[in-house]
Amino acid sequence: MNDPFETLGLPRTFDIDLRAVEQRFRDLSRAMHPDRFADKAPAERRLAAEQTVTLNDAFRLIRDKMNRVLTLLAAAGRPIHETARAEPGLLMEIMELREAIDDARTDGRPAEALQRRVDARIDDEESALREAFDGTSFPPVGERLDRAYNAGVRLKYLYRLRDELDALE
């Protein structure tokens, strides 16, 4: 599989400048989108379509945070498998938060306090990823990688929780 960071010509970092990435995406689209090859030979048109599929996929994987985390960890040799579960402590915490969200939904109450709490938890976990994938050396090893992996597993739950909170409005 193509490495999405490589496809977009970016360093493998957790933090990205979304505007710059979008700019790069547009520049590459301009160079390889099939529409730019309408009057070219069929072999070039096919190639353009294939490359664009790869480019679009790379953009999708990097633009979205959870996908970016999964991509980085897989590239570092520690993929998060579908069956990966967070430790019981976090699962309890998630369940408790989810109940609170349900209550807020049924009462039609604003969930600002909940939102702040989830955001703070997310910030915490993200810092481990930020540190492991800071663009200096890749792949991270030892404890740095372990911490990043565990943070990635937790974020799977936490991002989903934040989506649910966002849907409350």
């Binding site: 933090d15 072999a43 800071d134 991002y159």
Partner: protein
């Protein structure tokens, strides 16, 4: 307009853009860089999407067909677009008053069939008649035409898109691309008003469909961020609400006489149009009765109209909010809201949009023409004439998934994925000796298969019987530039392509369309063969020209042997063109294609390197804080599979 037009026989065929609308259709082309609609002899660009089938077999399309709405309402088809890609059992089919539908029959494709004077016609055939009329108009004006970009609602599903393509094929039109209506409108806006940057919403409320699209425009790239809508919502629904109200005032109750109902619908539309500028509009209903026809007359005020259609207008709200959220932007931060579609002339719609997006919408370009004009620009771009340096990057409106155990849908491609896109998924046999898979593909956002729109069943047969889990197939789901799905399967062990049989849930099969083509006398067999030869010659000439151009520019990328092979293949194809040998053309075109692969690859690499060099990605370390909305949104709920 001149009385006589003389065409230069050597003139290049013109690519056209077609807006195949629920109520009205238009065709446009680009003339000296400016998109222009084709006008009729009254200088009117609009062809009403109405087809009348007369008892003597005559078929009338457009303005002249409108007269038959009163005299033969069942055989005069309006708003056929609402039936495209729909089945006999769809709620929409059953809701419509005024037509006679043929009953569903076992073993027949699940499509709507109108009964007209004892024969059955499908929506695809009716749409093809409208397209033929547009084609005829364009040819009268432009001589020969070189394919068409046809617009579809962004929210059209796969079956609806396929039906549109089938209609074009029946009409003898080469489809350059299906383009989403709001995107086409944005293209016309961007080029027509010289707007070069910013994020815009396109609110497109037509006769029968509603789309909302959020897109950003940057240096000629029109990038769609999100889209949403309802392919069964539009001005027709307002007319229906008004017609029902008028008939109720007249003391009529269901079921209505067909003619009375059609007349009421037309009168309702007229009243709605009149209330755009006036505060009150008088109406008259002819109430046919067996005893004596009588007339009922009364008036409707603007505020009465508003109350009647409020429900319809409000139904557009949730899709707008979701599209904004998917794009990670709020209404007031948009640089503009563009109104498209005839229904956006209704004052209530305008005030609703202004309130929803917290800004006054833009109406600089005629909302009835803007989609066709944009389609013409895209056709011009795709024909390679390069009068405009614009690029459209669009998305798929609906999530695509497959049915898994227990009727649960597993998402494969999320909505708002940039197209073209593809995702591969591994399938393994779960029983000993299993020789096939049945993959049920659905479109929609809901979690249960029964709540999503069934798209097709793909059958993979002929797997060598082995123990469970031994056979592995890699199935690739691909959404192309037209927003349409293709499925390919490959045996992982052998790398061999595996055939996939497609059974569309709604719509005609390829064979159905083929049969319809053969049935129309214009496409008798010799005709087909002559056409095939012409098509192959045209294709070969295009490939030759493209290859020579590529060689002239980047010939240095090939070594001597590669160059010799390519030159040989070129010469062979040129000879086949001279000989007008159909089979030879097919083979030589293919050989040239093979021989041009190395050049294509190297040219592509060169182009990509240059694109990367163009601008450096600065400040990658700092995350733009306010972009969180866009950034965190598309989180997929199904974990990514390793493949």
């Amino acid at each position: 307009m001149g009385l006589l037009q003389i065409f230069d026989p050597s003139a290049k065929p013109t690519p056209v853009g077609i807006d195949l609308g629920t109520t009205n259709s238009l065709v446009a082309w680009v003339s000296d860089g400016a998109p222009t609609s084709v006008l009729d002899c009254d200088d009117d660009p609009i062809v009403p999407s109405v087809v009348a089938f007369l008892p003597d077999g005559q078929i009338i399309v457009g303005k002249e067909a409108l007269a038959y709405l009163y005299t033969q309402p069942r055989e005069t088809i309006v708003s056929v677009k609402r039936y495209m890609g729909r089945g006999f059992d769809d709620a929409e089919t059953r809701r419509e008053r005024g037509y006679q539908f043929a009953p569903a029959r076992e073993g027949q494709a699940n499509v709507v069939r109108f009964v007209v004077h004892g024969r059955e016609v499908t929506p695809v055939e009716v749409s093809a008649l409208i397209l033929k009329e547009l084609k005829r108009r364009a040819e009268d004006k432009l001589g020969s035409i070189a394919g068409a970009v046809i617009t579809v609602p962004a929210y059209f599903d796969d079956a609806q898109r396929q039906a549109t393509k089938d209609a074009a094929r029946l009409a003898g039109l080469e489809v350059l691309r299906l383009v989403n209506e709001p995107t086409a409108a944005a293209l016309a806006y961007g080029i027509g008003t010289n707007r070069t940057t910013g994020t815009y919403a396109v609110y497109d409320l037509g006769g029968g469909t509603f789309d909302i699209t959020i897109l950003s425009l940057d240096d000629g790239v029109f990038q769609v961020r999100s889209t949403g809508g309802d392919s069964q919502l539009g001005g027709d629904d307002m007319d229906r609400a008004v017609a029902l109200h008028m008939l109720a005032l007249a003391g009529q109750s269901e079921p209505f006489d067909q003619g009375v109902w059609r007349a009421a619908m037309l009168e309702a539309r007229r009243v709605k149009h009149e209330l755009t500028d006036k505060s009150e509009s008088a109406f008259e209903l002819e109430l046919a009765s067996s005893a004596a026809p009588k007339t009922f007359a009364k008036a409707i005020t603007r505020s009465e109209l508003d109350a009647l259609i409020l429900g319809v207008v409000e139904r557009t709200g949730p899709a707008c909010k979701r599209a904004l959220k998917d794009a990670g932007i709020d209404g007031k931060s948009l640089d503009g809201v563009v109104l498209v579609g005839g229904s956006t002339r209704v004052p209530l719609v305008r005030s609703f949009v202004a309130k929803l997006f917290q800004q006054e919408p833009l109406t600089d370009i005629d909302p009835d023409q803007v989609v066709a004009l944009g389609a013409a620009v895209q056709a011009d771009i795709l024909a390679g004439t390069q009068q405009h340096d614009a690029l459209v990057v669009d998305v798929t409106p609906l999530s695509l998934g497959i049915e898994t155990m227990g009727g649960i849908v597993e998402k494969i491609l999320a909505r708002n994925s940039t197209i073209p896109c593809a995702r591969a998924q591994q399938f393994t046999t779960y029983a000993d000796g299993q020789t096939g898979f049945d993959i049920h593909v659905l479109q929609g956002e809901r979690e249960l298969a029964r709540d999503c729109r069934s798209l097709a069943r793909f059958k993979l047969d002929g797997i060598k019987p082995q123990t469970a889990g031994a056979a592995r197939l890699l199935v690739t789901f691909r959404v192309d530039e037209n927003g349409m799905l293709t499925v390919a399967a490959k045996d992982e062990a052998t790398g061999k392509e595996h055939s996939v049989e497609v059974k569309p849930s709604y719509g005609l099969t390829d064979e159905d369309v083929e049969k319809m083509l053969l049935e129309s006398y214009e496409h008798a067999e010799e005709d087909l063969r002559a056409r095939q030869l012409t098509e192959r010659v045209v294709e070969a000439e295009q490939v030759i020209a493209a290859t020579k151009k590529a060689l002239a520019k980047d010939g240095d990328l090939l070594d001597e042997d590669e160059r010799a092979e390519l030159d040989g293949a070129l010469a062979a194809l040129e000879r086949a063109v001279q000989a007008r040998d159909s089979e030879g053309l097919r083979r030589r075109t293919e050989s040239l294609d093979q021989a041009s692969v190395p050049l294509a690859e190297r040219r592509m690499n060169r182009a990509m390197r240059e694109a990367m060099k163009g601008r450096s990605v600065d400040s990658v370390e700092s995350e733009v804080a306010h972009a969180r909305g866009v950034d965190s949104h598309v989180t997929e709920h199904t974990a990514r599979r390793e493949h």
